[in-house]
Every structure is written in structure tokens, then in C-alpha cells.
């Protein structure tokens, strides 16, 4: 069993983003005016890249952790 698990947290974060994107998709079809466009451009559009960058950082850290864990375990036991 792994010492730590970053993948579960990453999967939950990814799922939260998918849910939010779907929710925004639902509201987008009923709200189409200047204020929605402004809200989308100024606030919504930054969410996905910010979360994606974090997911990349988690995956990178998970690889480093996995290598460290393998190196420090007792291969002879």
C-alpha cells in the first residue's frame, strides 16, 4: 500500500471542475447578455486553466513521491 495518495485528491478536484463546467454550460444557454459575457471573460474563463495547472503540479509531485517511496522502501523485505 502506498504511503501517500495524491491521485484521489486530484481526481476529486478534476471532478469538481467538470461539474462546474457543466453547471456553467447550463446557465450559459439561458443567460446571454453583456453582463454574462463580462462575467465569463473576467471570472469564469480563468478557472479551468488555473485548476489544470494545479492538476499538472499534483501529477508531477505524485511521480516524485512514487520514486522516493520506491527508493526508500526495503526491497529485501
Amino acid at each position: 500500500m502506498a504511503v501517500v495518495d495524491l491521485h484521489t485528491g486530484a481526481a476529486r478536484l478534476s471532478e469538481a471542475l467538470v461539474q462546474l463546467e457543466a453547471a456553467w454550460g447550463r446557465v450559459r444557454v439561458t443567460w446571454n447578455d453583456k453582463s454574462r459575457h463580462h462575467f465569463e471573460a473576467e471570472h469564469i474563463e480563468e478557472i479551468t486553466p488555473t485548476v489544470r495547472l494545479t492538476l499538472d503540479a499534483i501529477n508531477r509531485l505524485a511521480e516524485v513521491f512514487a520514486r522516493a517511496e520506491r527508493a526508500c522502501l526495503d526491497e529485501e523485505r
Binding site: V3, V4, D5, L6, T8, G9, A10, R12, L13, A16, L17, Q19, L20, A23, W24, R26, V27, V29, T30, W31, N32, D33, K34, S35, R36, F39, H43, I44, E46, I47, T50, V51, L53, T54, A57, I58, R60, L61, V64, F65, A68, E69, A71, C72, D74, E76
Partner: protein
């Protein structure tokens, strides 16, 4: 003059505000959980692993000492001109020395891993700064902005709504008044 609002469902905007706040809470929970895992890994490398490998080094020293003693005893068991080969004892000493060397190397490996993981963990915390701001600062701000937008939309919808029709006007039902020209039933 303000641009006209075009919202099919104010309720959908209100629902999205709830979804947005839920997203912020889920994101914060995920980050807390991830930071907990990072802390656990650092702790494992700083406490569990060094203690484990130092104990293994001590055990390996004891095992080497016991194997040397076993070999000496074997070599003293000379019967007449026959000197025992002591192959098993020699093999055990070789294995014990190899284990000692491996355990010593692992103490160094753990030190190197501590440095790498600590550095990567710090970089990770730095990279998370933007998403932490998103969840803790931006999402509540967006929800506040949506609150103000909702107030405006509700006012707009209320102003745009037609006057309520009386149920009965001069003997005609309100339903008949709702029908436009050419829409007679």
C-alpha cells in the same frame, strides 16, 4: 442607458451561484487533503525511514558479528586433518555484509530523497498559490458579484412583467384576454 438583460431563467443563475460555492468548498477540501498527504510524505521521510534504516544498520552489524562468530566456530571444528569447508557460514557472512552495505546506502538514499521531496513540496505549494486564491478569494467574490447581478436581474424581470390580469373582466375570463390577435381558440 443600460444594456438590456437577456436571461431565460434567473433561477438558473441562482443555481449556478450555489454550484460555484460548492466548487469552492470542494476545491478547498481537495487542497487540504493534498496538503495533508504532502505533510505525511515529508514526515515519512524525515522520521519513519531514517529510524527504520538506522535500525536495519544496527541489526546488520549484529548479523555480521554473529556470522563471523559462526564462521570462527566452524573453522575451529577441525577433526584430525580434516578442515571443514564452512560453506554455509561463509555464505551467511557474505549475505550479512551485503545487507549491512545495502542498509548503509539506504540511509544516504533517504537523505537524498528528503531533500528532493522537500524541494518539490515547496515548489508545489508555490504552484498552488493561484488555485488557493481562486478558492479562497475569487470564488466568494464571484458569488458576491452574482448576488448583485441577481438583484439587478430580478428587478429587471419585475419591471418587465405585465400587470396581473383580473380573473374576470366584464364577464370574460382572463384566459381569453391572454390570447393575442389571431390566436382565438
Amino acid at each position: 442607458m443600460n444594456a438590456p438583460a437577456n436571461v431565460g431563467s434567473v433561477e438558473a443563475v441562482r443555481d449556478f451561484r450555489s454550484d460555484l460555492l460548492r466548487f469552492g468548498e470542494q476545491g478547498t477540501d481537495c487542497l487540504d487533503s493534498l496538503y495533508g498527504q504532502v505533510h505525511r510524505m515529508v514526515d515519512w521521510l524525515e522520521h519513519d525511514r531514517p529510524a527504520y534504516w538506522q535500525q536495519q544498520v544496527r541489526r546488520a552489524y549484529d548479523r555480521v558479528a554473529a556470522a563471523r562468530l559462526g564462521l570462527q566456530r566452524c573453522q575451529m571444528r577441525q577433526v584430525g586433518d580434516h578442515r571443514p569447508a564452512c560453506a554455509e557460514e561463509k555464505q551467511e557472512l557474505t549475505r550479512a555484509k551485503a545487507r549491512l552495505e545495502y542498509s548503509r546506502q539506504q540511509v544516504e538514499v533517504v537523505r537524498r530523497c528528503q531533500r528532493v521531496v522537500e524541494e518539490e513540496a515547496n515548489q508545489f505549494r508555490g504552484r498552488c498559490g493561484q488555485v488557493v486564491n481562486l478558492f479562497e478569494r475569487d470564488v466568494p467574490r464571484m458569488a458576491g458579484l452574482l448576488d448583485r447581478i441577481l438583484v439587478s436581474l430580478e428587478a429587471y424581470v419585475a419591471a418587465a412583467a405585465p400587470e396581473p390580469l383580473p380573473l374576470v373582466v366584464d364577464g370574460d375570463s382572463a384566459a381569453s384576454k391572454l390570447s393575442g390577435p389571431g390566436e382565438e381558440s
